[in-house]
Symmetry: none
Subunit: 216 residues, 4 copies
């Protein structure tokens, strides 16, 4: 996959860059089209037309239509992963206040992602799952990853004593993932202004933390 740039001539390097660029543009165009009219309603010709390119060209970069969605989803996966980790790695919060702050950071990051581009939610939650079992599995695995991160974070909080020790961590992690999904979905119908969204996040996180914080 990685290309030994050292062994390439200048011309080759330039060509490789242009190829990578077009690949990326195809993924972009496909993503846009999938979000706009759906995977099945999108034809390869549609994607090509967005780039003023011929259908054949698309096939110079991707094996087939299925291959294109795979790359679209990979990009979304990477974006989501970036939002979920970053400086928010689980286990770094030492106090309830820090935990709350960290949770808010993650919520804000995820929200920014889905809010900045509501197409993400549309494609990921509503289009891609209908393609086939493998694709569905990938999406479910993404939910699982989010669950995993929550789980670790909560486990750590319980160990450090600022979260109740009688709470069911698995169930709580599910609740957290559910909130994320729910927020994404609701945003598709009714785009809320950024300020409301901040308030919403604080409220939701507040409810959660109240529910799991150690008493006293």
């Amino acid at each position: 996959m990685s290309i030994d740039a050292g062994s390439m001539t200048r011309a080759e390097r330039k060509r490789a860059e242009q190829a990578a660029q077009l690949r990326a543009e195809i993924v972009d165009a496909a993503f846009a089209e999938f979000a706009a009219v759906g995977y099945h309603a999108t034809t390869i010709a549609d994607i090509a037309r967005r780039l003023s390119v011929s259908p054949g060209t698309v096939y110079n970069y991707f094996k087939n239509k299925r291959d294109i969605v795979d790359h679209v989803v990979s990009r979304l996966e990477a974006q989501l992963r970036a939002a979920l980790v970053g400086d928010n790695a689980p286990g770094t919060a030492r106090t309830l206040a820090e935990f709350r702050a960290q949770t808010m950071r993650i919520a804000t990051a995820v929200d920014a992602l889905f809010y900045a581009d509501e197409r993400m939610a549309r494609v990921l939650l509503f289009e891609v799952t209908a393609i086939d079992a493998t694709m569905t599995e990938r999406v479910l695995a993404m939910f699982d990853a989010a669950h995993q991160i929550s789980f670790e974070s909560l486990t750590d909080g319980a160990r450090r004593g600022f979260l109740r020790d009688d709470v069911d961590i698995g169930a709580t992690a599910d609740v957290i993932v559910g909130v994320m999904i729910s927020a994404s979905v609701r945003n598709l119908r009714n785009s809320y202004p950024a300020a409301d969204r901040q308030a919403w996040r604080e409220a939701a996180v507040g409810v959660l933390i109240e529910g799991i914080a150690a008493r006293g």
Copy 2:
């Protein structure tokens, strides 16, 4: 649509019943097929074959394929509505204990619905949304309805004083819907035994109620 049974002969009535029966069977078969292989991968012939009937017959009962999904979704809507209301109409809980009990009843009903037939979650969440904007809108409206019921229930609880009055009711309702979605989705990957599911519900509801119950 409604049939004036009074003016029908016995033979006519019998025929009308059989027709209604076949209509229902077609919806069933379509649902099963959509869940098994997806909406787009399902052909009219597949549905017909399940009923040992010809494709043409299907068109005697439904205008087109799109019309069939519409009815499939209507049935799922009705089932969900039944689970959400019934004797669980919002505003009937008078104490926190009653509220908790009611919430558990709803959670159990919804869970029973999705657990009894995981195909429901699959079709509703993963297949149907990819069909077109109208269909997606219907699903979002179902989420909205669930949100509405939660919202009313919470509002009532706050008014009666057993829920904190500083809680953001809208956000909390979103959390509740999110939990439902999350639970449904996770069950698709990993079927949990009924006992575990009961424990899970209690834990999740516990977290929620702790988070919103009036202090003291």
Copy 3:
């Protein structure tokens, strides 16, 4: 494959007959088209057009284009087999004269087949072998079958003593098959009148029999 006609209604039987008829017509049309312009140059639409039928209809009868050639070749195989056996089963000749007569009968039957319809040679020898390895194998197997029949006939002749016992039977059988192929191929270029063909057969069979007949 065989259909239990007894369990069919009259209407079903009629429909089955019509289906079988159309299947056969498609094979005919495909054969004609393959012979005229070749397998690769033939489109499904071409075949359909010959029958004033839509392309989709062709696919109601055959899985794909490859499936159609398979049936075309099966039909040719059956025709060839019929020409090679019939009352010409190996081992029935008791004297050299009978052997010569039998050989002539077979030669005449094969010639009639290829002469009656030069498309047979064209499709079998020149078109079908270019499709894929499996198809080529089928054609080679047909040559093998012809070889086998010759071989048995010659073996029997040697055993009965009217053929030279020092002759290489395998090689001779190859020669016989070669003559058949050669005659078929040459006919493609230059259609000879029936009388000439009869003379040709007698000459060729004469050369062969002279070469292998027991001396004295």
Copy 4:
């Protein structure tokens, strides 16, 4: 087409040689690919890849794909012609023994050709004929040429008196060509060791000569 070498500088000459070389290599590569997967399954890119050259380059040497096969076939034609004539020109045999020896030489040469490279038979007999009528005609013309040579040889033998004068020379020539084809085809299925092939040739030639030699 022909190049006036006299007016070329050394550099020009070298370049012309390299061009001729690459042309030849393209023909080689195409031949190899056609034999391996067939004419239609071979893409220009496949041929180019074999030579570590770009598809565009191929078009600097040949007008189109069809043009390439034409040259492939020309090369095969030349090889076959070389095997059939050489010191085996018809009319040089003076006695039956010489005739037999000459026939064996030709048979051995042809066999060597097809045995050394079974791809020849595959391409010539099984691939190339399916391309178009012109190509088929070329192959038939090759058979004709072989027939012609046999015919002349036999005519000469009859004139000199060591072959029967009542034999049908045309039919006999057909038999000879048929034997060549048959041997080539059979070798495609079952590669025989060189020793067996020698024996086979002797047997087949023996049968033939016995059949046509003058008696007494």
